[in-house]
């Protein structure tokens, strides 16, 4: 082998030499040079660095330029604002440049242990898990079933009740569209809430076009569903109630058990979108009477592009599949499963169970520290219920500061003012509107996400940076000045131009 390789190389270098000779102007010295170069290349290959570095700062710079070009304002305005904010940036020399990641509701870093499980599927275990005629299929199928067991274990479900999908959006669509379509002859009504994730709201809206009635329940100013209102909204022809477990923007936890018992009493299917709750807050599908539940892998340190839906078998919940095909996954989701993603998801699920106590204690401790630090800034408020919440999601409003400008001044911290899906648009969050926040407050709120890999040092840095920059931005703001002078902002009649 080695010998062949070497002869191959000499052949290549001979070819090179021929190539060099064919160029008359460059012949002569080139021959010697090319020989030296090929030697150097060989030598280089021996001690080539295995390291491949990703320059994230360059990407960030490029993004800034693109964004600046996209906005209608001329570049000089941006230039001046950056210089005005210069002292708002922490220009700590001697430290790195990559921002601290505090957007755990958008996605989480992949756990190295998950990657370790996935790698063997990209290096050798490539069989189709649905091939049952040979060992390649059997070995991946075994791993997939093992993953299914781990995923089911988190919510105390039976492995047979887990259907793997591409993510929570697919799961939600499957349920919101599949269940009503199956029962459409007798049932025509769906109930959901106003604070759901976009994919549930849009799927429900799509069902309106198919002739279904949809009730969007309001939430109180803590973000919680009124159980009495929910019960009153249930009609004889209601087939599905869909309420999310933990809100993605404000981290509010709905009373799943109570909702489950109401649904059971009225014999209505209960679906919960648990993308933000799965593995983070205790969920037991039997105790809480949950019939359908959506899960996403990348919110629990798993790979992106995998998810699952729990579909109860006893009593059986039936739904029309969206995909037609080979009948994989009990016929509900045809298509070949991606074993690397599914196995990674399974490992992530195993880890959330294994690390549960440690994670909860760590996240709670950091969350308390962060909340305390942020709320000690004057005129700040926590959005959503303070008690019924997942501690890893902290949504805070900073009055008299524009949220987007705070985010702009925060190049060193990766944060979001709401869900990642809507962060491209500048309109204020519909979730904050639903809990009764006005436009100004909705505009000035920021979501902080804490996870397994967040460190205490990072939280301290964030609290310090935010306090300084909120103070700085407020000093620039004429509104803040007016408030300091004792003018009630609501009493002002703004004239529009």
């Amino acid at each position: 082998m080695l010998r062949q390789g070497i002869t191959g190389l000499t052949r290549v270098s001979r070819l090179l030499r021929v190539g060099a000779n064919s160029r008359p102007a460059l012949s002569g010295g080139i021959r010697l040079y090319s020989k030296a170069a090929s030697n150097a290349a060989l030598k280089f290959a021996d001690d080539a660095a295995l390291e491949t570095h990703t320059d994230t700062e360059a990407a960030a710079r490029e993004q800034t330029v693109t964004r600046a070009a996209a906005t209608s304002s001329p570049s000089e305005v941006i230039g001046s604002s950056t210089s005005a904010l210069q002292n708002a940036y922490a220009e700590n020399t001697g430290f790195g440049t990559r921002p601290i990641y505090l957007d755990m509701q958008a996605t989480t870093p992949t756990d190295p242990r998950v990657l370790d499980t996935m790698l063997k599927f990209y290096t050798g275990l490539y069989g189709n898990p649905h091939s049952n005629t040979h060992a390649y299929g059997w070995e991946t199928n075994k791993e997939v079933e093992n993953a299914r067991k781990n995923v089911a274990n988190v919510i105390n479900a039976d492995p047979k009740e887990i259907i793997f999908t591409s993510g929570a959006t697919e799961s939600n669509n499957m349920v919101l569209k599949g269940v009503p379509r199956f029962y459409k002859r007798s049932k025509k009504h769906i109930i959901t809430t106003r604070t759901e994730h976009k994919c549930v709201l849009e799927a429900a809206r799509a069902m309106v076009n198919e002739g279904f009635d949809v009730t969007f329940l309001n939430v109180d100013n803590e973000g919680l569903v009124n159980l009495k209102e929910l019960e009153e909204a249930i009609r004889p022809d209601t087939c599905l109630v869909s309420v999310m477990a933990v809100n993605n923007e404000i981290g509010v936890m709905q009373p799943l058990k109570e909702i489950g018992s109401i649904c059971k009493k009225h014999k209505v299917y209960f679906h919960t979108d648990a993308a933000q709750a799965y593995g983070k807050v205790p969920i037991d599908v039997n105790e809480m009477n949950i019939d359908l539940l959506s899960v996403s892998s990348h919110k629990i340190y798993g790979p992106k592009g995998a998810g699952a839906v729990f579909v109860r078998r006893r009593p059986r919940v039936r739904l029309d599949p969206i995909f037609s095909g080979g009948g994989q996954e009990r016929g509900l989701r045809s298509g070949t499963l991606p074993p690397p993603l599914v196995a990674g998801f399974g490992e992530a699920a195993r880890l959330v169970v294994q690390e549960n106590d440690a994670d909860i204690a760590h996240i709670k401790r950091l969350s308390e520290k962060l909340t305390k630090g942020l709320l000690s800034i004057p005129d700040t408020s926590l959005n959503g219920s303070a008690e019924h919440r997942y501690p890893g999601c902290v949504n805070v409003s900073f009055a008299y500061v524009e949220g987007e400008s705070l985010l702009m001044a925060m190049r060193d911290i990766a944060l979001s003012s709401g869900s990642a899906c809507t962060s491209a648009s500048l309109e204020p969050s519909y979730v904050l509107h639903a809990i009764g926040k006005d436009d100004a407050l909705a505009h000035s709120s920021i979501r902080f996400g804490i996870g397994r890999f967040t460190t205490e040092e990072e939280v301290e840095y964030v609290v310090d940076a935010i306090s300084k920059r909120v103070k700085f931005l407020r000093e620039l703001s004429p509104l803040w000045e007016m408030v300091q002078e004792g003018i009630d902002l609501n009493s002002i009649e703004w004239s529009g131009h």
Binding site: H53, R98, D116, D412, T455, E458
Partner: protein, 91 residues
């Protein structure tokens, strides 16, 4: 399996710390250091030999993962975080 000695466990702990420190990624490094310290402390008073052996075999598996993944972390590197002090190359 014969009974575990104190030296064996301490050696394992050292290996864990060493490999966790090899992570290039700030968050992963700190996480594994924190978890290693906490779990060894947690199981410090375990006397039951059977349980000890189980913990030891599981820990060996985890150590394998840690060794592989810390290497990968060194191969695929990214810029340092804003909380990480930069070390000059020629120190």
């Amino acid at each position: 399996m014969s009974s575990l000695t104190r030296t064996q466990v301490l050696g394992l702990y050292k290996q864990f710390i060493k490999n966790a420190n090899n992570f290039n990624d700030y968050n992963f490094k700190n996480y594994f250091l924190r978890r290693t310290r906490a779990s060894f402390r947690e199981n410090r008073d375990v006397k039951d030999q059977e349980k000890l052996n189980l913990l030891y075999t599981n820990a060996l598996k985890d150590l394998g993962v840690l060794k592989r993944q810390s290497l990968i972390s060194q191969m695929y590197t990214f810029d340092k975080l804003v909380v990480e002090p930069l070390k000059t190359e020629h120190e």
